[in-house]
């Protein structure tokens, strides 16, 4: 559902961008990204001496004229850039107004569209798995599974509409294990590329090992943390019994306006820790609220951070 996620106007503007990868593409499939592999393109890379069986078409006859030795011209092979989008589809993402999950899907759609426009391969990996947490009927589960399957590998701009549709049909539920999802994603990837993690990072188990695994696998990691406005500045006060949407754990708390600053300090500390972690590992970090203007994030913040350009 492209309409539901991104406006045509935004899509048109996104078409101008291309994901900026600091690393060479390592994919085995052809694409439009420079790679270390030698192959067929217009981009000259090097010479090597002719060996028996080489294609005469790539001999440099000018050089032969001067040196009377046969050299073969080598060209850079252009390969595709695999873009893996880790989408947090846990229950906690359903909170906020607008819901964090909707916002995350919009960002995923935008990144995916830019990648597709640049002939890159896009994989959307929602976590947790459907089997783990989905408590809906069989038909919905089947549809969800199908959509998730379709999103595993998408290539080409023509697939964009289907991509949006599948993205739009995703639902969020269950308890996420961010570390496990990222580690598994890192292991499953045949080639490293760009990894975009969209989550609230409110996982009691942490995020460190998962992100470390991604970076270790050679991914260029971009991290977009999405929090609900109510999580930054709560609006409910009094004697509360808080129920964790994912774990179901109950905690009693007494919260009043005078403790708002203390709470916000806690949030800021949490963000700061995450930001420092990302900085130390060369990860692009963005923190945003689900009520932020999407265009502002996509067209300004991500561009300034040279996620795309």
């Amino acid at each position: 559902m492209p309409d539901a996620l991104l406006t045509p106007e935004l899509l048109r503007r996104l078409e101008q961008f291309q994901l900026l990868a600091t690393r060479r593409a390592k994919s085995s499939s052809k694409g439009e990204r420079r790679s270390r592999a030698r192959g067929q393109s217009v981009e000259f890379a090097d010479y090597r001496t002719y060996v028996h069986g080489d294609d005469f078409r790539y001999l440099d006859w000018n050089l032969y004229g001067r040196l009377e030795r046969l050299f073969l011209k080598l060209y850079e092979e252009e390969r595709e850039l695999p873009v893996r989008i880790f989408l947090d589809a846990s229950q906690s993402m359903t909170f906020g107004e607008p819901p964090k999950f909707h916002f995350a899907r919009q960002v995923a759609a935008a990144i995916g569209y830019v990648a597709l426009s640049g002939f890159d391969r896009v994989s959307v990996i929602p976590f947790p798995d459907v089997a783990n947490g989905l408590e809906t009927d069989q038909a919905t589960r089947t549809m969800e599974m199908a959509a998730r399957g379709a999103l595993r590998s998408v290539r080409g701009k023509k697939s964009a509409i289907q991509f949006f549709r599948n993205l739009g049909s995703l639902t969020a539920s269950g308890a996420a294990n961010l570390n496990e999802a990222l580690r598994r994603g890192a292991l499953e990837a045949r080639q490293a590329g760009v990894a975009v993690v969209l989550s609230d990072f409110l996982d009691p188990a942490g995020y460190e090992s998962g992100l470390t695994a991604l970076v270790g696998r050679g991914f260029q990691v971009d991290l977009v943390q999405i929090l609900a406005p109510d999580e930054v500045s709560p609006t409910t006060f009094g004697d509360l019994r808080l129920i964790d949407s994912e774990t179901g754990g109950q905690q009693e708390v007494t919260f009043g306006r005078y403790r708002m600053k203390a709470y916000q300090r806690t949030v800021q500390n949490f963000l700061q820790r995450l930001r420092e972690f990302c900085k130390s590992r060369g990860i692009n970090f963005f923190s945003t609220s689900s009520n932020t203007d999407l265009q502002e994030l996509l067209l300004k913040q991500l561009r300034q951070a040279e996620v795309w350009g």
Partner: protein
């Protein structure tokens, strides 16, 4: 350490209540959140939910219990028994006279004075003592020296304002006797709460009274009846003349209606205008078919209502039965007959007490049996009356008391006496006419008997030839007439006792007060006189004695009381005066403030604790 109010430890029961409040599980609102991760810091404080685990290290609770303990401790009023400083004595005199009923203060001067006095009770230091005196027509000790503030407050609350005049002298005398012998270091004080509408206090001029005058009252808007009398109309014996004096004590000219009522029946309404500070005499003439009560009433609404009405009992005149015991004195006989309404009988000796006569005139005759009734004794000696009569030759009359009712319009100019008996004036009598050596005429009341004693034989003087002689005799007939003295007794000033001679032994009587309340009296069978003292309220009283009913009236009729202008200073004699104090209460005990503050802190702390949740 001891405690003045150990019962206050009962408040310690509040401590378990505070603990119970902490044990109560608070009702919490259930809220689904995305994650409790960010709330971990806030969970820690209230995580413990097991009942007694909650109380562990709960500083808020410990603070509250500590504060509560201190408050309870303060309420118990702890003290150390040390060598006490000399206690200060304060004598509070609360003026309970009629003028204190004035409503220029809200609700009245008396209530204002009482409130002020209560403040002074509050300010009493730990071991200081206070005496409460109520000064109305009589002085009452409402509370003897005490440090107990509750008792002092009760005593002040029990004070009642009367309709009577202020008799401050006995109250001040009593207060003076209380403070006189005290150590001056203790700084005793007499606090008078009054409007200053009091008569002369000359006798305290040189007493150095430690008097502090607390003035109450603001305005002086009052019209009052200050005098009332009823007599036969001299011009028409069938009518009665009611004399009333109405005084205006306000600063403006006042217009009002003056009503005359006979036994609550309106006879006449008269509009009167009285200028500021002036007194207007008013005379009403009214026919009176039988004995009754005349009431004069001012319709004006002023600050003091008690003096706007006065009543008087008017008895129809009866003939005066006079017995003249004389060897022959035509001038005296003629003078007696000239007096109005006299039935005269004459004899040369008296052999019985003359019970059938209103009074007896002994003219130079020593009777065989002395009369029991009133006597006009001329040139006779009765050793029961006085001792040591001597004879003086040609005494010169140097002074006479023209203010006495007997000498009204009767001067002694150009009266010469040839010789006279004379004696020292007895204590029961007052001298009327004086020679340098001794009195020549005195009069007084010995027991219930009125006696006029003339030392000289009138025939041995030129007095019978003077105009003052028949006037004096007429005055004497008036004064000695028991009916007149009785009607005088029927007009009582508020606070004065009502007296009635008992002719036969009686054991019980009943007085109906102006409000209609009947008050039974028990009498001593041997008593010759009934004295009724509960005359604090003005109005008409009815005394039932067997089958007889006696009506008497109680009125204020007091110029000093009606003049309700508050005085800035009280004059003690010519040169001493006590200025109204502006001093406020002092020596406030702090424990109440501290305890209140503690309680307030507790409440604020509680409020703050709860504010966190909103």
């Amino acid at each position: 350490m001891h405690f003045l109010a150990p019962l206050a430890f009962a408040f310690a029961a509040a401590i378990p209540v505070v603990i119970a409040f902490y044990l109560l599980k608070r009702k919490r609102v259930v809220k689904l959140v995305s994650s409790t991760l960010l709330w971990q810091k806030f969970l820690a404080e209230t995580q413990a939910s097991a009942p007694f685990q909650k109380l562990r290290k709960n500083w808020l609770l410990i603070l509250q219990i500590l504060l509560l303990t201190l408050i309870v401790f303060a309420l118990a009023r702890p003290y150390f028994a040390t060598k006490a400083m000399p206690a200060q004595l304060r004598v509070v005199i609360l003026d309970a006279s009629a003028s204190m009923q004035a409503t220029d203060e809200t609700p009245s001067r008396f209530e204002k004075a009482r409130t002020e006095a209560l403040k002074w009770v509050d300010s009493l230091a730990g071991n200081d003592q206070m005496v409460i005196l109520q000064a109305g027509a009589n002085t009452e000790v409402k509370q003897s020296a005490s440090t107990q503030k509750a008792a002092l407050r009760r005593a002040l609350q029990a004070c009642v304002c009367s309709d009577g005049p202020t008799r401050l002298v006995p109250a001040l005398k009593m207060a003076e006797s209380l403070v006189r012998d005290l150590d001056p270091k203790t700084n005793p004080e007499i606090h008078l709460f009054s409007d200053g509408a009091v008569p002369e206090l000359n006798e305290f001029e040189n007493k150095a009274l430690p008097l502090v005058f607390h003035r109450v009252g603001k305005d002086a808007n009052n019209l009052g009846i200050t005098a009332l009398d009823v007599r036969s109309n001299p011009e028409d014996g069938r009518q009665r003349a009611v004399y009333a004096s109405v005084a205006n004590f306000s600063t403006n000219s006042q217009q009002t209606d003056l009503e005359l009522l006979l036994d609550d029946r309106l006879l006449e309404t008269r509009p009167i205008t009285i200028h500021a500070g002036e007194t207007s005499p008013q005379v009403f003439l009214a026919a009176q078919p039988r004995d009754g009560v005349f009431t004069v009433h001012l319709t004006v609404k002023d600050d003091l209502s008690v003096d706007n009405q006065a009543s008087i009992v008017s008895l129809l005149p009866k003939p005066v039965k006079v017995l003249l015991v004389s060897q022959g004195n035509r001038l005296l006989e003629r003078a007696l007959r000239a007096a109005p309404n006299v039935e005269l009988a004459a004899t040369t000796d008296l052999t019985d007490p003359a019970a059938g006569f209103d009074f007896v005139v002994l003219d130079d005759v020593t009777p065989t049996v002395w009369p029991k009734g009133n006597v006009l004794a001329i040139h006779v000696v009765n050793t029961n009356w006085f001792q040591g009569a001597t004879r003086v030759e040609a005494p010169a009359i140097v002074d006479w008391k023209s203010a006495h009712p007997l000498l009204r319009y009767a001067g002694f100019d150009n009266v010469q006496v040839m010789q006279s008996l004379t004696a020292r004036t007895p204590t029961w009598a007052a001298t009327l006419v004086e020679a340098p050596q001794a009195p020549l005429i005195f009069a007084g009341e010995l027991g219930r008997q009125r006696i006029i004693w003339i030392g000289f034989d009138t025939l041995e003087s030129n007095w019978p030839l003077r105009v003052s002689y028949p006037i004096f005799i007429a005055n004497a007939v008036d004064w000695l007439n028991p009916a007149n003295s009785r009607s005088g007794q029927l007009l009582v000033k508020s606070g004065d006792p009502f007296r009635l001679a008992l002719t036969e032994p009686t054991t019980s009587a009943q007085v109906t007060l102006p409000g209609g309340t009947a008050k039974p009296l028990t009498l001593d069978p041997n008593a010759s006189e009934l004295v009724f003292g509960d005359t604090l309220k003005q109005g008409t009283y009815r005394l039932r004695l067997g089958t007889n009913e006696t009506v008497f009236c109680v009125n204020l009729l007091d110029m000093a009381e009606s003049n309700i202008k508050p005085h800035e200073a009280m004059q003690l004699g010519k040169y001493t005066k006590v200025t109204a104090t502006t001093r406020q209460r002092a020596n406030m005990e702090l424990w109440r403030t501290i305890a209140t503050l503690g309680l307030l802190v507790l409440l604020v702390e509680w409020w703050y604790y709860h504010r966190r949740t909103v």
